[in-house]
């Protein structure tokens, strides 16, 4: 078995006995998943549970004139047919705005459309029945009389005076706009030896989680309590929202996540159909289950990345980058998604473009407009793939224009490794990054010179291979600066409760959630290391608002860096408490004692003094034998939130090596490399697998994935037979390397790693394709995804 682990040894200060920090230990929860004994929300069945299916608008924009439920109500198994107007009496509407995105506006959105449907797929009526099949049969009998309205489908014309305004309550179709100008941009371009100006297009795509969105809501009329089994990344956020819009107190709402079949940012938003399911449970006083089918997923799971960016870079002959300029236009559907808003991706594009480089001149404009397509919002690596593709696409085109090697141009412009702390032109604050060390590591790892030699040898034989790079930065460990300051009730802090049980085992309850990335393993490693027990003595509980500390969940690469630090601190605090009791029992000073392998020992000699099991037995069953005044506190909670920096930025560089078939336009990916710096590496294998999975998600965006809409706002490819995703045979092996620059904001020093792969891969693949085709005089490709027909067009063959 090949387990890549090239991370250098770190963390001498943390290197105690039972130190699992920096080790590729297996995740504690995998066996139930390999044996098919997980419990996903789509598996949950409750007594008296009913199923809901939704009648969805076939029009991109239409007035709902009337709904006739008579036939559906008589159908076998149907329990209730509920319209938007009826459900509006149970649940209040919401508006997806944040105050720190100045001027961002949106319209109220209801769980089921009332009077007007604003995109194809918006739910207009619910049918609740004994089974999903009967609910779907019922949907077919609901007669909805629609009056089609003009649909706004093209972001380019959404702001034209003659384009209809989607929401009469808002003056225009502009959701959000941001402008930024730093330095002397016009002067910098004027003084450049070469300027590259181009337009990048990013195809709208979506997360395609293997398990669709799923929710089971159970209103208990006797308890006056709502239990929601919900495949979500943020249970406490959802608890707050369910409570708010049903008029309940937090303690009346419990959210349980169970196993989640993939998230990637798809499952961190408020979905109208999920809110409707919860409201229906309250209305009908029984459990109601909703699992999106695949077509529903394609037309209602958030989409992302539908951006058109006009971009410009200036360079001197010596490779110095003089200025960046971008103009971003993105169409986000009819509503800004609640509660994170749909302005964040464009805002990130403005923040991140040019980020790795020491270029002081930057002008950016971003406009976010409403359209009658499915909503867009935050999906893995929010904004990063776009900003990185624009920046790195410009950098490689500039390098080609002045005849400089693309790695050399980066060497001359990347922020120096000794320049920190520093900040980007857009104002992002960097604590400590390692662009140059990462680049040098990548250069050696991929044998760049050897590959260039191979590339030119093969070109003589008519084989066209390309090498492309992407340097990047990644936002991780977000503080309250991300959402909290804008008024969103989304917590940036997180907590861990650690308990010693009566046998001397440890249980951890963490506010972060597990979607497969390995958060539970990381929590176990942190606590076992800080406290001093083997990993098999540790059990981790996540995803239950009744039983975990208040936390943000898992998004923006925060689980290890924030949740892990809370777990580390909780483990240390419990250790102190246990040693206080041990000191009393052993008549020793607590500071002379240590816990190693579940035994209290003399720290100087390592001599075993007291097994934890015995300490726990005395503390729980014979506390009468402890000295007076000694109260054992064998359960502690600690919280952590980053305070010194708004975000813990990470950095890295990727490379792609591929071959283009110039007759068919097909791209064969040969190899992919990523060197990444996420600070302290708690579990090297889990970090590498986050990188690899992220890279492949980014490759999907570059080559395959595209939600295709026609001019009437109809999604044309809403099945997995029509919407292509990366499958094993097209994907390359991916080699990972690391540089370690810990953040000083926490003791662990860990930053996030969940989005680096997705951030850089599309840019890399784009640059490699253009590198392959450049000697053939092909037009530069900047319109993702790079399908065979686009490649053949660039070659002038079709």
């Amino acid at each position: 078995m090949k387990i890549v682990d090239d991370s250098p040894p770190v963390l001498t200060a943390l290197d105690r006995p039972n130190s699992y920090i920096g080790r590729s230990v297996p995740r504690p929860n995998l066996q139930r998943l390999t044996q098919g004994r997980g419990q996903y929300i789509s598996d949950v069945t409750l007594p008296r549970m009913a199923h809901v299916a939704f009648v969805r608008s076939p029009h991109a924009h239409a007035r709902i004139v009337s709904i006739s439920a008579e036939a559906a109500n008589k159908a076998p198994g149907v329990i209730a047919v509920v319209t938007g107007a009826e459900l509006a009496k149970v649940m209040t509407p919401w508006v997806g705005v944040l105050t720190h995105l100045k001027g961002l506006k949106s319209a109220p959105q209801a769980p089921i459309a009332v009077e007007r449907a604003c995109w194809q797929g918006e739910a207009v009526c619910a049918v609740v029945a004994r089974t999903r099949a009967e609910a779907e049969d019922g949907c077919e009998l609901v007669e909805v009389n629609y009056q089609p309205l003009p649909a706004v489908v093209d972001p380019e014309t959404a702001l034209d005076p003659k384009t209809p305004v989607i929401h009469p309550s808002i003056a225009d179709n502009l959701c959000f706009e941001r402008k930024l100008e730093v330095g002397a941009v016009d002067q910098a371009f004027a003084e450049s030896d070469a300027v590259v100006e181009t337009t990048f297009m990013f195809g709208r795509h979506t997360g395609v989680t293997n398990e669709p969105r799923a929710v089971v809501a159970d209103w208990n009329q006797g308890e006056q309590r709502m239990t929601v089994y919900h495949g979500t990344q943020a249970p406490h956020m959802m608890q707050d929202l369910f409570a708010k819009h049903l008029g309940l107190a937090h303690h009346q709402v419990r959210v349980l996540t169970k196993d989640v079949g993939g998230s990637f940012g798809i499952k961190v938003h408020t979905y109208a159909d999920e809110m409707a399911t919860v409201a229906l449970s309250k209305l009908l006083k029984r459990p109601v289950k909703f699992v999106a089918d695949r077509l529903e997923s394609f037309v209602t799971d958030i989409h992302a990345r539908d951006h058109r960016i006009k971009a410009k870079i200036g360079v001197k002959k010596d490779g110095t980058i003089t200025a960046f300029e971008i103009d971003d236009l993105t169409g986000i559907g009819p509503y800004s998604v609640y509660p994170r808003t749909s302005g964040i991706e464009a805002n990130q594009v403005v923040n991140l473009t040019g980020g790795p480089y020491k270029c002081p001149n930057y002008r950016a404009q971003a406009r976010v407009v409403f359209t009658n397509k499915n909503v867009m919002c935050q999906y893995r690596a929010v904004g990063h793939p776009i900003a990185v593709a624009v920046t790195e696409g410009l950098v490689e085109q500039a390098a080609a224009k002045i005849g400089m090697d693309p790695l050399e141009l980066r060497r001359r412009n990347l922020i120096a490794d000794d320049a920190y702390p520093t900040q980007s032109a857009s104002g992002l604050k960097f604590e400590l990054l390692s662009h140059h060390e990462a680049l040098a590591h990548l250069d050696a790892m991929m044998n760049y010179a050897g590959l260039r030699a191979e590339q030119s040898r093969l070109r003589e034989k008519g084989i066209y291979r390309g090498i492309g790079f992407a340097s990047f930065i990644e936002v991780t460990n977000p503080s309250a600066a991300f959402y909290g300051v804008g008024g969103a009730r989304i917590t940036s802090q997180d907590g861990a409760t650690v308990k010693l049980d009566a046998q001397g085992n440890i249980s951890i309850a963490s506010g972060v959630t597990e979607q497969g990335q390995g958060a539970e393993a990381v929590m176990a490693q942190c606590v076992a290391s800080a406290f001093g027990v083997p990993l098999d003595k540790v059990r981790v509980i996540t995803g239950d608002t009744d039983n975990t500390p208040y936390g943000g969940g898992t998004w923006a690469s925060r689980a290890a860096g924030i949740g892990g630090e809370a777990a580390w601190q909780a483990g240390k605090a419990l250790r102190q408490n246990v040693l206080a009791v041990a000191g009393a029992m052993l008549q020793a000073k607590p500071e002379d004692l240590d816990i190693r392998n579940s035994v209290v020992v003399d720290s100087a000699t390592g001599n075993e003094r007291l097994p934890l099991e015995e300490l726990a037995r005395v503390a729980y069953f014979r506390p009468d034998t402890l000295p007076a005044g000694i109260q054992a506190e064998l359960m502690v909670t600690r919280h952590y939130v980053p305070r010194a920096w708004p975000f813990a930025f990470t950095n890295g560089i990727q490379a792609s090596y591929l071959e283009v078939d110039t007759d068919t336009g097909f791209v064969k990916l040969l190899k992919h490399w990523c060197v990444e710096d996420c600070g302290t590496i708690i579990n090297p294998q889990l970090v590498d697998e986050q990188i690899r999975g992220g890279v492949v998600q980014g490759i999907g965006a570059a080559l395959f994935e595209h939600c295709l809409y026609d001019e009437r706002g109809q999604l044309r490819n809403g099945t997995m037979a029509d919407y292509l995703v990366p499958m094993a045979v097209e994907m390359p092996d991916i080699e990972c390397g690391h540089v370690v620059s810990p953040t000083a904001d926490s003791e662990l020093g860990a930053k996030g790693a969940g989005e680096a792969g997705t951030a850089g891969a599309p840019a890399c693949v784009m640059n490699a394709i253009n590198d392959a085709l450049r000697p053939l005089g092909a037009a530069t490709l900047t319109d993702m995804p790079f399908t065979p027909d686009k490649i053949l067009r660039a070659l002038g063959k079709v």
């Binding site: 044996q35 098919g36 993939g262 990366p726 094993a728 991916i734």
Partner: protein
């Protein structure tokens, strides 16, 4: 709905099962909803993603492309049965050690598909190449891992089984 349902008898994971099912019900819905064998998952409902992969009469099939009534008299094996029999124990262990799963939703189907390749290779006394492994599991969608770790795990088991036989 009685005119639309049929009685079927089959063997599932070694147990005899007799049920009345809707004629329109797919095999995977029958396994999940009627027998509560939730280890088989529903992903695309279209035969593309492979999350519902099970074995019927020894052949790997898509549980969403076969109707339950087509399985009258058949022998069906799901991940629960494959686990309990120990047939894929080495493969499961390799997936766990190599972290060849993240969310785990694709894993039952991925294991069944990989086992099909490995059994065939064993019969021919061959060790499949990485490209052959990639080709064989290309009907099974995994959004989390990027496939590299899965290929590693399957390759390791292929080599171990070949070594064990020699």
């Amino acid at each position: 709905m009685s005119d639309r349902s049929l009685d079927i008898s089959l063997t599932v994971n070694g147990e005899r099962v007799s049920e009345r099912v809707d004629a329109r019900k797919t095999l995977v819905d029958f396994l999940r909803d009627d027998l509560l064998l939730t280890g088989s998952h529903v992903g695309c409902e279209h035969g593309v993603c492979g999350a519902c992969t099970v074995r019927v009469n020894g052949e790997v099939v898509r549980g969403c492309l076969m109707l339950a009534v087509q399985c009258d008299g058949a022998t069906v094996e799901t991940i629960e049965g494959l686990s309990d029999s120990g047939e894929v124990a080495d493969l499961q262990k390799a997936f766990e050690e190599r972290n060849a799963l993240q969310c785990g939703y694709c894993t039952p189907g991925m294991l069944a598909t990989a086992q099909e390749l490995l059994k065939g290779a064993q019969d021919k006394k061959q060790v499949p190449s990485r490209d052959e492994i990639r080709e064989h599991i290309s009907g099974n969608y995994c959004r989390c891992t990027g496939y590299h770790a899965i290929v590693d795990a399957v390759e390791a088991v292929a080599k171990a089984r070949a070594g064990g036989k020699a």
